[in-house]
Amino acid sequence: MATTALTPAATGARAGLYDWLTTTDHKKIGILYLVNSLLMFFVGGVLALVVRAQLAVPALVHYGFAAPGFKIVDEAFYNQAFTIHASLMLFLFIIPILAGFGNYIVPLMIGAPDMAFPRINALSFWMLPLAGLLIMTGFLVGGAAAAGWTSYSPLAQAKYSGTGEDLWIVGVILIGTSSILGSINFLVTIFKMRAPGMTMFRMPIMVWTMLVTSTLVLMATPVLTSALIMLFIDRNYGGHFFNPATGGSAILWQNVFWFYSHPAVYIMVLPAMGIVSEILPVFSRKPLFGYKAFVFATAAIGALGFSVWAHHMFTTGQVALGFFSFMTFLIAIPTGVKMFNWTATMYRGQLSFATPMLFALGFLTMFLIGGINGAFSAAVPVDFALHDTYWVVAHLHYVLFGGSVFGVFAGIYYWFPKMFGRKLGEGLGKIQFVIMFIGFNLTFFPMHILGLDGMPRRIANYSPDAGWSDLNMLATIGGFTIAMSMLPFLWNVFTTLRNGEPAGDDPWEGNTLEWATSSPPPPYNFDRLPEIRSERPVFDARHGLVGGGH
């Protein structure tokens, strides 16, 4: 009988690297997602600093510290900077990092050994760094995309935008494909791979939010991907879809773009809501208040999310204003239900304030503002005043930074012990939280007032006499403060990985199944599962609420 000689295993770093490049383990892929997304977050952050630095210049001129005409970057680069900033932050940081958490945590939370399609999972991930490189390669070939992340036609047509725009389109198509594959993977995993006893209404809220998010991705992203291909055809093969100069429609692009990109806002925020909904009960020592109401609210947000896209287009004068205004107001209701349920979860609890809880509270308090200042734009006439001003920049950052990014850091501090077996330092964590919270509000709160005062978005310059100097200066100082808050974070990760406090299996007295296995979990996830009789199996086991106990 012939035998096959096994190649000797490579040793040391090479084996490690090879393992990471070829892994199909959902936990390693999850960590790859997190690392790649954080890298993109830092690049996108540097571009934001470029934008903030340039916007401080007219203020410096106003104060007499700089000569008129001085620029940090020219207008062409400025437009590339905010376009690529937004593209990286939305498509390559927030969406994938939340998918990364989902990847790591969903199979653990439902008691599964892995995702349903491990190889497709790896494929979905590896498209992302490639897409990021493509988008950023624009800087080397005469200018990256500069038509904004919304890439409105005709500005995005070949006549007005260069090669960077093509690279951007291809990059975003890749990201879209990655998202679609990932969403199918999540749906199949959640529907087919739950452990015995894990009924739908015993799933952790994080899993529910990933389920709704994946449904949104599956329904919305193909629309964006098709639209991008059509735009690519317009630009390169003489198509006429979105180009009015050749009989196409500029408004059509906006409709298809926002048909994806408004649900995308929920893709960017629902999983963060899921993270917060896991953390608040654990640090309040109470179950989530109104679990089912929360599930229905999540589903309602997902469904309503498809009927509000044109509220981004009120000022075009080409959409049904009354209908989209009504639907947009409506979406405040399920969002409010969530807000009240989170607050009620803390009511009569025993709250402790470890770093994950602080970031979760940051999410709650800041996302609230992002919800409220969004209601202004639902009132169409008010939107006529505020649309495309800095008010909208404030609004979207209160949702996506105050909401999603605070949620992301809550998740990092919460699950880091599970992923690496060591707890991130509490002291550095709290320092990061405080600096980030202050920097965030310093940057984005003044933008409300700038918007009311009439400062449009996406301008590289404004008159030093426009009266916008002080608030822009504040925002710039705030922007650099946010950047500073990343230093304690990086130092925390570095020192913790070297010699952090060992976490044990269940450092936070968690509720959900990931805390029932070792930290980090073995490749197959679980040696044995506790009995699942509620949405808090580990809590039940800890307090002897299920037969047998441990």
Binding site: S284, I333, A378, P381, F384, R458
Partner: protein
Amino acid sequence: MSLPRLTRSRLAVVVALVAAGALLSGCGVMQPPEAVTSQGSEVRSLYEFVFAIAVGVFVLVEGLIIFAVIRYRRKPTDTELPPQIHGNNVLEIIWTVVPAIIVAVMFLFSYSALQKVQATTPTDIQIRAVAAQFQWQFDYLSADGQTVLFQQLAPEMEVPAGKTVHLQLKANDVIHAFYVPKFLFKRDVVPGVNNSFDFMVDAADAGQTFSGQCAELCGTYHGSMLFTVKALSPADYDSWLAAQIAKARETPPPAPSGGAGQVQLDIAAKDIQFSTAALEAPADKPFTIKFQNNDASITHNVAIKDSAGQEIFKGEIFAGVDVRVYPIPALKTGAYVFECSVHPNMTGSLTVK
């Protein structure tokens, strides 16, 4: 690490006071400018209504969160689990129905304001804003809105105060947006789409000038697409319009020939910038400026203002790539400013000595 009871309630008072102070000062500055159009006033009162509700919701929910955080901190005596409350259907219904009523009211108010803002009335004042990378032009049209009476190439729109103006919007290349902050209004200028709207500047605001600019990213120099709206009394407007139309019908004067011995200054424009930031000219002698516009299809000119900001000379606005020679009258010794009337951020100093 629990605080004593007294300290904790004091802390709560301090937090509440700081929050109330921040909120009050915040409310003061978080208001849009006073509107100068009747439509804008509708928007402003709707804003104030929405703002009042927003502040109420903010204070209530943020207050509940802060209350929970302060009141329910974990104490060393908390060894038993707190009551495991899973939910309450009555509460869920309350906080679904009450917000539903609030948003329904907000929708009704905003919908009725929308009808007023969007309303049109028949009017003789017909203007067309024409937007292109990166300039505004205003065509004054006949009463039926069909025929162009004259084209205002400078980014300056004169309107009669107290009368309804019908503004058509036309884009020549990409999407732009007509935005005047003090109108509390903007409307996109979309190629292939005939957008228009009505507005009426309040009669009391005659004589005022309002700044406006493009609000939709339109390319590299998007931030330079500025314009102004000048409100005139109806009588002033009529005479201004008549004068402009008469001027447009005149045959243009022959191109000035640079007289022998006259000083000629050279200046060019490229990428929405002048080639130089400083010019020098002799005092008390006419001279010429030879202006080369190197921005293809973008309009520029050279205008001269004295140190008080009074316009002394305004050269013809023309699209590049082209050249003009402007005859400049004799100027007294002093410091002047030259700028492009289309792009007010293109500016430099002119020293006459």
